[in-house]
């Protein structure tokens, strides 16, 4: 089913079409929500809100962009917007900050890398973290990120570059091993 037909059927309230649209994109939306929250319940809530919003706004889709682009713009906006209101994220980051010292003193191993990654990524400025996670972890393009965040593509690229530079410093010992 092509995008146009799918949208027409969704607009007409066809449940099968809605489900098809959902099935095609839910993994990516949920994946981003989970990556950004680290919380299953929160990721579910955000994903559900995102799709509810997308279905409610489908009448506003005019076909200027690919349906997948439009859908991901709407859903990632909802997910990322929702994150702002979640105090639990901050609490979680605070816990990770507390764990920073212990992580730094252990010898290098996979579990340590996990801790160090958590600390390093959580320590990124909010804008850097979003772009890094969306691009390098979840595979979004700069165009998709720019649309979802409402910024220029150049801004997305610059923030990614700065995020990587910062992570390189934070993970310097691993970085040497990785590029050896």
């Amino acid at each position: 089913m092509d995008d146009r037909t799918l949208v027409q059927r969704v607009k007409a309230g066809d449940p099968a079409a809605e489900r098809a649209l959902y099935d095609a994109h839910v993994d990516r939306v949920y994946g981003l929500a989970y990556r950004m929250t680290g919380d299953e319940t929160l990721a579910r809530d955000l994903t559900q809100d995102a799709f509810v919003r997308a279905f409610d706004r489908i009448d506003g889709y005019r076909g200027d962009a690919a349906l997948s682009t439009w859908l991901h713009t709407v859903t990632t906006s909802v997910v990322l917007n929702g994150l702002r209101k979640v105090r639990r994220i901050r609490e979680r980051e605070a816990d990770l900050d507390d764990a920073r010292g212990a992580a730094e003193t252990k010898p290098m191993s996979e579990p340590d890398l996990k801790d160090r990654l958590h600390v390093a990524i959580a320590g990124l400025p909010d804008g850097y973290r979003k772009v890094f996670v969306m691009h390098d972890v979840e595979g979004y393009t700069h165009q998709e990120i720019a649309r979802a965040l409402g910024v220029a593509e150049g801004t997305s690229k610059a923030q990614l570059s700065r995020a990587r530079a910062k992570l390189r410093v934070e993970l310097a010992d691993y970085a040497e091993e990785w590029v050896a």
Binding site: Y22, D23, V26, D27, Y30, G31, Y34, R35, M36, T37, G38, E40, A43, R44, T47, Q48, D49, V52, R53, F55, D56, R57, G60, Y61, T73, V74, S77, V78, L80, N81, G82, R84, K85, E110, L113, K114, L117, H118, I121, G127, F132, V133, D136, V137, L149, G150, V151, K157, A158, S161, R162, R164, A165, L167, R168, L171, Y174, A175, W178, V179
Partner: protein
Amino acid sequence: MTDERDGTQEEPEVEEAFVRALGDAARRLWNAPPETPREEMWDEIRAARAGDVAESESSARRFPRPKPWWLGIAAALVIGVALGRVSDGPIDPAASGTPAVADAGPAVSPTPDAGVQTGSESGPETPSDAELLPYRFATTELLNRSETFLTMVRAGGAAEESADEVREWARPLLTRTRLLLGSPAATDPELRSLLDDLEIVLVQIAQLPEDDSEERGWIDEGMDESRLLFRLRAASAAGAGTVRM
């Protein structure tokens, strides 16, 4: 890597190896998502949409919509005035300097429909023109104010104001929007849709963070997608007498 860099420049292949390894490690070790609970989420989505409360639910968790109980009380307080005016004859909005007010509840349902003089009884499910008159005034005023406010926000005119001030401006509009959503005015599907979209945007503005540049981009996008400003302008231009109820 072709991305612009900040900091020391490495050989491209070295940098590429680092970026690839970093991404791989992050995908494996940083908040790796479990299997998507697609059926459970789908059930929730269907339930939310079936309940016709989808958009308001997502925001209502943070801003519960106030029950319009005080609207009923306010209406009850002025019912006597409304009854007197209605019983004297048809209400002519053009000749009235102040909005006439009528009860939204069943207490005045036996009152003849003053606007059209049909003598039919009005009830809470089919409010008469006379009963809807105050809501028309309130709706038109809200739409006018919202249009002005959102135009200013959209044009960046509010950018110089602190997020606190912008939030303060949005909140009373949000409250009034929600009250109208709980009033007979919202029985009209077109108006309800407009008020629903307006509510979502006002919620976003009422929750603007201090660093709000990204948020404002999303708000603009939301307004574009729902053609909110265009619809507000059209409804405002239509005026109190022709705003459909």
